[in-house]
Symmetry: C2
Subunit: 238 residues, 2 copies
DNA sequence: CGCGGCTTTGATGTTCATCAAGTAAAGTGG
DNA sequence: CCACTTTACTTGATGAACATCAAAGCCGCG
């Protein structure tokens, strides 16, 4: 398993953070000098599906944000089954909540499709936080928002049962990730199960049922949302 | 309901933050001027059991920390049932994760016993963060830790079933709150159910079963952990 | 002293996990 | 490129864990 770690490609992109589309989300108001610091401490890394970006237990020493692709954060439970804590899509600050913990990762991060990640050295980020109070406030603000969203979405998912959770996931891909009603599922049925805390079998059963009921169409990995409104209602009602 | 809000007592304590036992947890390295700022922006508030400290939807405009007593953070689900997100005990920073969100509370905070809370105006805290980088880093560090702990404990609880969750809660009170094997349960059976995401009935059934099996003794609200080791093992194994 | 909330126990039903078994797809090594 | 192996996908049958419904005793409090 570990050998995968060494296959990752490291390259420097010519473009600077200044021209990055995700810049304004956090680094919007830095001055030229600060940009240069960030930019010099930054590496772009490309991962293939299945490559592990960070292992549980590794030291947290960089700030990660996702430019392309998709990653999962997951832990392995006592019986050896993986449980997915969250999916991250382009624009997400993968590990922002954990970044300042001074301990090590409590979960692993793995690419679920070809993924491009920006990796910024933590010390540089900390330096800017220490010297630029407004920036510190912006980081704090992002952290609060991410934390609130996680708690909120967990709360909502916990009230739903199987069908509601599956419908929610399908709508997440259609609305928030691909912005289309037809898309290729980037993850396996098993991973969907790990994400919604259900077994693979029941996840598949629900997919089949949704297909029988004319809610979706399935061609292997290609999903089409046929009855969007009814899916929405299932996602809502549980 | 809302009228409760106005019954809360507001008083200024003579002692300053400088002498507070919880000082070193966050405010340890502030200079005299900063202490004075915090101290002047601070109010101590005393709440009785059942009094709501913050309502979901209220604006977040202060930093809260708990000096005495216990509070619960909770939300009301779609069917009108409450779900407890977390319990906080003395020394906890009740709303630290939410503080910088610039929106409003997504949950309510209520005292479950007589509770003394320090309430610090947010603008003053933000001012100090903006001008004292080391302090900002310490706040970020605390936020990361709290977030990690929440995610970790949720992950662990989600793998357990009824008995494991109840055992975990009992050990939490004994080990982390009261540091005794005999204590008065500060919350009702229903609230325990809300905390572990189970029904009141099954929570009670499990209590009875633990008593029958000689794990605990129950006299109304007074709980005695009789077989601490076996409880520990149940909490661990699920 | 009676009303409402808390507590308790039992009976029944639902949701989901587990086990089993087979097909399809996707890597892998010769 | 093909046999072989592994992993993903699928469906059915059975059982366990927990929710729901019902009913009654208890306790505090106005």
């Amino acid at each position: 398993m570990w050998f995968k770690h060494f296959r990752m490609k490291i390259k420097k992109d010519i473009k600077s953070c200044k021209t990055c589309v995700y810049r304004q989300m956090l680094f919007g108001d830095l001055d030229d000098f600060e940009y240069k610091l960030i930019n010099d401490a930054r590496a772009e890394r490309l991962y293939k599906r299945g490559e592990v970006i960070k292992y549980e237990g590794e030291k947290v020493d960089s700030f990660l944000y996702l430019r392309r692709g998709m990653v999962k954060l997951f832990k392995t439970d006592t019986r050896g089954k993986e449980q997915i804590l969250s999916l991250n899509k382009p624009g997400d600050f993968v590990n922002l909540l954990t970044i300042f913990t001074k301990t090590s990762y409590r979960y692993s991060i793995e690419a679920i499709e070809e993924t491009l990640v920006c990796d910024v050295d933590l010390e540089v980020l900390e330096h800017i936080i220490c010297t630029n109070g407004d920036f510190a406030m912006r980081v704090l603000n992002r952290m609060s928002n991410i934390s609130d969203e996680i708690i909120e979405s967990r709360f909502e998912q916990s009230q739903k049962q199987l069908k509601g959770r599956i419908a929610t996931i399908l709508l997440y891909f259609a609305d928030d990730v691909y912005h289309k009603k037809i898309f290729n599922l980037p993850i396996t049925r098993r991973e969907i199960g790990e994400l919604i805390a259900m077994t693979t079998e029941n996840t598949i059963r629900t997919f089949s049922e949704f297909k029988r009921d004319g809610l979706i169409d399935i061609q292997n990995k290609t999903i089409t949302l046929v009855d969007y409104d009814r899916l929405k209602s299932i996602a809502k009602s549980g």
